[in-house]
Amino acid sequence: MKELIIDALVENLDKVTEFVDAQLEAVDCPMKIQMQVDIAVEEIFVNIAHYAYKPDVGPAKVRVDVSGDPSVVDITFIDHGVPYDPLKKEDPDVTLSAEERQIGGLGIFMVKKSMDDVSYEYRDGHNILTIKKALGAR
């Protein structure tokens, strides 16, 4: 298990992505799955950066755990900002026309669609969001 503690700022996104990718590359994760995981990581980390500590800055903990054969990755995001369960957000209507489309909620919707499991809990003053994805055959 590897852990990164970093200020929840949008400009730190590249560092978070690099950290996660290093763990995925170590187990030869297929490129397509790596992209899906990167997107999920971006949507969740940017959410924390935008909402958790406003207008202050606070830390986000990103924990990556790769286990099993074939490999499964679990990534946990922990912050102690305002309680917020992004999974409660209503899914966007993806059948509307361009003119009618609202863009809100699209990010977390992409996370739910592409990951095998997404869970949230608020415990001891912390938001804890975990995503799980099977990395497929080596």
Binding site: L13, I39, T95, E99, G107, K113
Partner: protein
């Protein structure tokens, strides 16, 4: 990292994006497109070198589509199967003209 190359021929603007369209790079992508849209009736977004797009990038595509619906047309070319899957999941394959 995202590199953007633009070519304007008469009223057709071709924008080639190369790299990742994410929260960090999407604002540049949006500005580069919008700065050049006056008098453009056809916008072509060449996606052959786009490796990644998150919801921040999708936002830019939707906003460009709304502008071009009013003043002409917009299409995406050379979309990889990985990016196409993102468009399908989010319903963007129905609202964008993808060649």
């Amino acid at each position: 990292m995202l590199k953007i190359t633009k070519k304007l021929e008469e009223r057709t603007l071709t924008v080639e994006a190369s790299g990742r369209i994410d929260t960090t790079t999407a604002p540049d992508f949006e500005n580069e497109i919008k700065d050049s849209l006056a008098s453009v009736s056809e916008l072509i977004l060449d996606f052959s070198k786009v490796e990644y797009i998150s919801s921040a990038g999708l936002r830019v595509l939707l906003s460009a589509q709304k502008i071009m619906t009013k003043q002409g047309s917009m299409k995406l070319t050379n979309v990889s199967s990985e990016i196409m899957e993102i468009f399908e999941v989010t319903g963007f394959s129905d609202i964008l003209d993808i060649e």
